[in-house]
């Protein structure tokens, strides 16, 4: 733990918020067509309808906001899942929640040609929910109940299954393939502001909800029996947390496709900096998640310029070594 007391933690949180805002600005300014900081300021203060101003308002701004929102949501979902399952490898991507939402969206867009944004969002939630319930059910089978190992295997199986369904479906439907390929790799590029605003209310409710339940999560992390003994209604808390996870992961997938690794990596980074108290871990994870996705998205523009790498590929490059590190450390310690 890097920060030892609450004033240091508050300071760390403020630094992170400042960094998040700076990175959002950088995300608006830098890219294939570099603009200047002054131009960006002009676009907000007195938009004259010039090409540059329109690009800033309709392309760059939504992109920065989406990266921040999706990164935060996935990181918080990961932090909740790791506490709920007592599993250091839990995250929306590793437990198949992202893949489930992804498959549902592909099915909806290509097969049923659903264009309505609200419907689209709810289909993504539904896919996330089905995957989450599936993993929970498969992980609970057997007499010793839910173990971290079984849950991880169930998650891997669920991810593989939904990924195969998605691929199989795209193979027989070539037109759809073109349409969703880039989205499927995980991307915040080329999304309209309306995509974000359709999902944002659910995300905001979930962010607030997860902060409200933080002190209860502290109690839950001491074990089911201890928590019940202290008078915590563990069943209700878990259901609320599960709904929040489904909103956050499903919402993120609806906007940006299944972006991996943020949900698993960020909570560990947050805990190593700010400690294990969820009242700090949840908000800090959210901000760090936004920072990571913004950085990944900015880097994605420069690697093979003028083309862009999908941001999901960038987070994988950053996240894979870390994932291996957690596997080695996490399962040895338990």
């Amino acid at each position: 733990m890097l920060l030892k007391n609450n004033s240091q933690r508050l300071f760390g949180l403020i630094i992170a918020i400042v960094l998040l805002i700076l990175l959002m600005c950088a995300s608006i300014v830098y890219g294939y067509t570099d603009t200047t900081w002054k131009m960006v300021l002009d676009a907000f203060r007195n938009n004259n309808g010039s090409n540059e101003h329109i690009v800033i308002e309709t392309v760059r701004l939504p992109r920065a906001l989406i990266a921040a929102a999706v990164g935060s949501s996935l990181a918080i979902a990961g932090a909740l899942m790791q506490t709920l399952t007592k599993n250091p490898l839990a995250s929306p991507a590793t437990f198949g929640v992202n893949a489930g939402a992804g498959f549902a969206v592909v099915l909806a867009v290509t097969f049923f040609s659903i264009g309505n944004l609200q419907a689209f969002t709810w289909i993504s939630f539904l896919g996330a929910a089905i995957a989450a319930i599936g993993v929970y059910a498969i992980g609970s089978v057997g007499r010793e109940g839910l173990t971290p190992m079984k849950l991880t295997l169930a998650g891997a199986a669920m991810t593989a299954m939904f990924a195969s369904f998605t691929q199989g479906f795209l193979v027989i439907n070539e037109a759809a393939f073109e349409q969703v390929l880039y989205w499927l790799a995980g991307s915040v590029e080329g999304r309209k502001m309306t995509v974000l605003t359709a999902v944002l209310p659910y995300l905001v409710i979930s962010w607030l909800g997860s902060i409200i339940m933080a002190s209860k999560l502290n109690v839950l992390s001491m074990g089911e029996d201890v928590a019940k003994g202290l008078g915590l209604n563990t069943g209700f808390l878990k259901i609320c947390a599960a709904i929040i996870i489904i909103f956050l992961a499903g919402g993120s997938v609806a906007i940006a496709g299944p972006v991996g690794f943020i949900g698993i990596v960020i909570p560990h980074v947050a805990r190593s900096i700010i400690g294990i108290d969820h009242r700090w871990v949840i908000p800090f994870s959210g901000i760090l998640g936004g920072i990571l996705l913004l950085v990944a998205d900015i880097l994605a523009r420069y690697i093979i310029m003028p083309q862009e790498v999908p941001v999901g590929v960038m987070t994988a490059i950053i996240g894979t070594p870390f994932f291996i590190y957690i596997v080695r450390k996490g399962f040895n310690a338990r």
């Binding site: 001491m222 201890v226 003994g229 400690g275």
Partner: protein, 274 residues
């Protein structure tokens, strides 16, 4: 006898197998009650259900005459604390953070942390002798210290009743006595009702005011150890032949099992013969 916890027709089961069958039990207030019995006899299950961690199949657990299933779980937590068997603290949690969680039942939206909370936490740390170690992570402590930290958490909960499921498991003899002495003192000084499951019959006899022996889903015997513990109880409850003698230090019953072992006693008869 004033009872504080009572079970009525309590039946407990895991799936189809009945663990405890229509049990009527009264636990006296302000005393130390110890559940004993063979492995898998249901003594831990009974304790868990009294602590509302396990829903009964039928029957009820009453706390001061009220059914706990009808009370709010936070209200129960203000009257009764439970320390489950071998709890695990999250990695990096400090002793102070752990003990503070004991105040959870008293926290509401408007009242986050009060002077009373602070006082209870300080007292709990003092009673368990952990003031020096309060900033250490729980997972860095020795087994005995760790158990004391968990007991401190249940003390901070400030309840009249403390339930403990095998609080001495995995501890060496020194620490077993240390933990049980601590609980004994709490009972003496503050008249807290203590109910626990113990494996060691001799320690049970030493510390319990009231022993509950469980056999075949029922209570086999209940009462003061010096009255209820005898050879036939040990034979019937544990399936073991033994000799009961008086503890030369405290006068409580002491169980010496028959069986094999190195015999170095020189019996009078053999000495004459040689």
């Amino acid at each position: 006898m004033v009872q504080t916890i009572e079970t009525q027709n309590l039946t407990l089961s895991y799936g189809d197998s009945i663990i405890i069958d229509e049990l009527d039990l009264e636990i006296p207030k302000g005393e130390i009650t110890v559940f004993i019995g063979g492995n898998g006899c249901g003594k831990s299950t009974l304790l868990r259900s009294i602590a509302r961690l396990l829903k009964p199949k039928s029957g009820a657990v009453l706390l001061e005459g009220k059914a706990i299933s009808k009370m709010s779980t936070k209200d129960v937590a203000k009257q009764m604390a439970i320390l489950p068997q071998t709890p695990v603290a999250p990695e990096g949690l400090t002793v102070l953070q752990l003990v503070k969680q004991g105040r959870y039942p008293y926290q509401t939206w408007l009242k986050q942390w009060t002077e009373e909370d602070e006082k209870q936490v300080t007292n709990a740390l003092k009673a368990t002798g952990l003031e020096e170690l309060k900033d250490r992570p729980v997972d860095s402590l020795s087994g005995g210290q760790r158990q004391r930290a968990w007991i401190a958490m249940t003390l901070a909960q400030d309840t009249d009743i403390v339930l403990l499921d095998e609080p001495t498991t995995y501890l060496d003899m020194t620490h077993q006595i240390e933990i049980l002495d601590l609980l004994f003192e709490l009972n003496e000084k503050e008249q807290r009702t203590i109910v626990m499951v113990l494996h060691d019959l001799n320690l049970a006899c030493r510390y319990a005011d009231n022993i509950v022996a469980i056999k075949d889903q029922k209570i086999y015997a209940q009462g003061k150890p010096e009255i209820v513990i005898n050879c036939s109880l040990v034979r019937n409850v544990f399936g073991m032949e033994c000799e009961i003698i008086t503890d030369p230090l405290l006068g409580t019953p002491l169980c010496i099992p028959y069986g094999k072992g190195r015999c170095i006693l020189k019996k009078a008869g053999t000495m004459i013969g040689s």
